[in-house]
């Protein structure tokens, strides 16, 4: 792999995130939610790094931690080699310009009381206060056209637009300051099927034209297969498998990835297969000992119950955190 030599754009290093649940003065022990446990990965320039997992696996928390919306409990976030997670608000400013975000809910991510023009101008006026009104207007027009929106929408309010149009407006806002890196948190899961393709296309076009790097959060594996270049599969706050998309989809190695892949509904007129997954996702308030997946894993043994598996690289470039794979119990 040539990527080993390239420097990573974003590095996530041993991130932990623990939420204290509302403590009560009568309670001795504060309940804690261990949302992310020791997750590390690197995102290289030009990548579309997809994080997949089911609800509650910590993928959105991780995305928000990378963007600085949440502070990690432990660990570091690096951007172009610089540590950014501990920066003060003012020092962080250049990174706010090069990192941008697209949100899940197009109905909540645009301020309902501001016109489209004002919403789109805001990042520009903030980061480039010297720009003239004319320059700002031109930039807004350019970006609006590039995401397939009519530039004359500026005077209108978000509620006048459909979900797909709003999501494209949200993308436009993210693109206003020409960022290098965009975090997209479930950007298409609230949209209708025929609109999902439109939004994905806009995102792929933008990547091609503007040389963007994406961190794409989703629960939809079929989108990952199409969109992602690298995939990280998360389960209950831990990274189970990290691989090139093609490698992963050709042959998933971690038992959870295998089950996740088999559960994707496929467009075929054959009756669906039974999913092999038993039981429920345990609560992040009381994580299972050892491997977090052991109580639902068909291959679990005593070691899995006691020892936390580490993410180990395999010869085909992927990394898997599973004792079974490491020991060769789960066949290659």
């Amino acid at each position: 792999m040539t990527k080993e030599t390239a420097t990573a754009l974003v590095e996530v290093k041993e991130i932990h995130k623990v939420f204290d649940l509302g403590s009560h003065f009568l309670q001795k022990h504060k309940p804690k939610v261990r949302a992310i446990n020791d997750v590390s990965f690197s995102i290289y320039e030009g990548d579309s790094f997809c994080l997949v997992g089911e609800s509650g696996c910590g993928k959105s928390t991780l995305a928000r931690t990378v963007m600085g919306l949440l502070e990690p409990t432990a660990g570091e976030i690096h951007y172009r080699g610089q540590r950014i997670d501990h920066l003060k608000h003012k020092q962080r400013r250049p990174y706010h310009r090069s990192m941008s975000m697209i949100f899940q809910n197009p109905y909540a991510s645009l301020n309902p009381r501001r016109t489209i023009q004002k919403t789109l101008e805001e990042p520009l006026r903030f980061h480039f206060p010297d720009l003239s009104t004319q320059e700002i207007k031109e930039k807004v027009e350019e970006v609006m056209v590039s995401v397939g929106n009519d530039p004359s929408w500026g005077k209108r309010y978000p509620h006048e637009f459909s979900g797909g149009q709003r999501q494209r407006l949200s993308i436009a806002r993210a693109l206003m300051v020409d960022p290098d890196f965009i975090v997209a948190d479930e950007p298409i899961s609230a949209l209708d099927v025929s609109i999902q393709a439109q939004v994905l296309n806009v995102m792929m076009d933008a990547q091609e034209k503007r040389n963007l790097t994406y961190l794409f959060i989703t629960h939809d594996l079929s989108v990952v297969e199409h969109f992602g270049s690298t995939v990280g599969v998360m389960y209950l706050g831990s990274l189970c498998e990290l691989a090139q998309t093609k490698t992963l989809f050709a042959k998933p190695r971690h038992p959870y990835t295998q089950i996740l892949l088999s559960a994707i509904p496929k467009l075929s007129c054959e009756e669906m297969q039974h999913s092999k997954l038993t039981g429920e996702v345990p609560s992040a308030m009381s994580l299972p000992s050892g491997c977090v997946f052991h109580n639902r894993c068909p291959y679990a043994n005593h070691r899995c119950e006691t020892e936390i598996p580490l993410l180990r690289s395999l010869e085909d470039g992927r990394a898997v955190s599973c004792h079974g794979v490491e020991e060769g119990r789960i066949d290659a």
Binding site: R64, M67, G68, L69, H89, R92, R93, H96, R97, M99, S100, M101, F103, Q104, N105, A108, S109, L110, N111, P112, R113, R114, E122, P123, F126, H127, S170, R173, V177
Partner: protein, 309 residues
């Protein structure tokens, strides 16, 4: 023109148009406001000017009234009070003073309440706990009690003359400061709901500072509940002022508000001069009723959950 057209076409206006209670209360309220605004033009005399008052005209009954000791006089449509002041003029000026105190007191409440509510809600933690406990303490003391204590002390220590000069200002401040927790709590609740929405995250991702986010993004989205409680609060402030005046702690008799008018006529009610008290009372009740009805209507319209259910 275009804006007017959109406004006239909006759901808000449609629901106003189809609700008789809303139309009637709005019209009556507007009538009161206009009357208060143009009081100097509408009144036959200036009730604050002692030169225009003739003690010989005292206690003349309203025009339509008969059977009283004195005969009605054509100059005084609603009769006169014990000083010979024209009731119509006194009521128009009194309405003006009551509404001014109501609005300004609410403005004071709003400024304090919004500032504290925004800060509490957005930053949370200790700041939030501090302000909310302060609000709890404030709410556990009744507005009237605070007002009575403060005004009585002021009157006693600075004398009645200075008090008469500063009465409006004092009433506005006292009623304003005593009721801020209502606003602070309402605002804080909406801030808590709004600050977790993605558009606030989007603003944080841009890198905007807390003051910009609060003022530009959160505040405009918390305004509709404000509108609703403001109507109720204006009514409450007017009532508080009337009550204080009635107790002799409000507006002086030389510059009467509706409350002081009611109060000053109260001693004559059994001597047959009912109009001095009853007419301002009716005006006060109508004013409060219309404001509250309008407030109820606003709450129904602005709360979509209530509407659907």
């Amino acid at each position: 023109m275009n804006r007017l057209k959109t406004a006239l076409d909006s759901d808000f206006f449609y629901r106003f148009k189809t609700d008789k209670v809303a139309i009637v209360s709005f019209s009556v309220l507007m009538l009161f406001f206009l009357a208060a605004l143009f009081a100097p033009l509408l009144s036959p005399m200036d009730p604050h000017d002692p030169i225009q008052i003739d003690i010989m005209d005292s206690e003349i009954p309203p025009l339509w009234s008969s059977g009283a000791d004195t005969d009605p006089d054509e100059r005084f449509l609603l009769g006169t009070d014990q000083q010979g002041r024209d009731m119509l003029s006194a009521i128009l000026y009194g309405l003006r003073i009551s509404i001014v105190i109501g609005l300004f007191a609410v403005a004071v409440q709003m400024i304090i309440g919004i500032a504290i509510g925004l800060i509490s809600g957005y930053f949370g933690g200790r700041i939030d706990s501090f302000f909310m406990r302060l609000a709890d303490i404030q709410l556990s003391l009744s507005t009237m009690m605070i007002a009575i204590i403060v005004l009585a002390i002021f009157q006693a220590s600075f004398g009645a003359d200075l008090y008469e000069e500063l009465a409006i200002f004092m009433l506005v401040m006292v009623i304003g400061i005593a009721e801020w927790p209502q606003y602070a709590r309402t605002i804080r609740a909406s801030v808590l709901a709004e600050k977790n929405k993605e558009y606030v995250d989007a603003a944080r991702v841009i890198g905007l500072g807390a003051p910009t986010i609060i003022m530009r993004h959160i505040l405009p989205n918390t305004l509709s509940p404000l509108l609703v409680i403001s109507t109720v609060q204006v009514a409450n402030a007017i009532i508080s002022e009337a009550a204080l005046s009635f107790l002799g702690l409000g507006m002086p008799v030389t510059m009467p508000s509706l409350g002081s008018l009611i109060s000053s006529g109260f001693e004559f009610i059994f001597s047959g001069s009912w109009w001095i008290t009853v007419i301002p009372s009716v005006v006060l009740i109508l004013l409060i009723l219309t404001i509250n009805l309008l407030g109820d209507w606003l709450r129904d319209v602005l709360n979509p959950k209530l509407y659907k259910g």
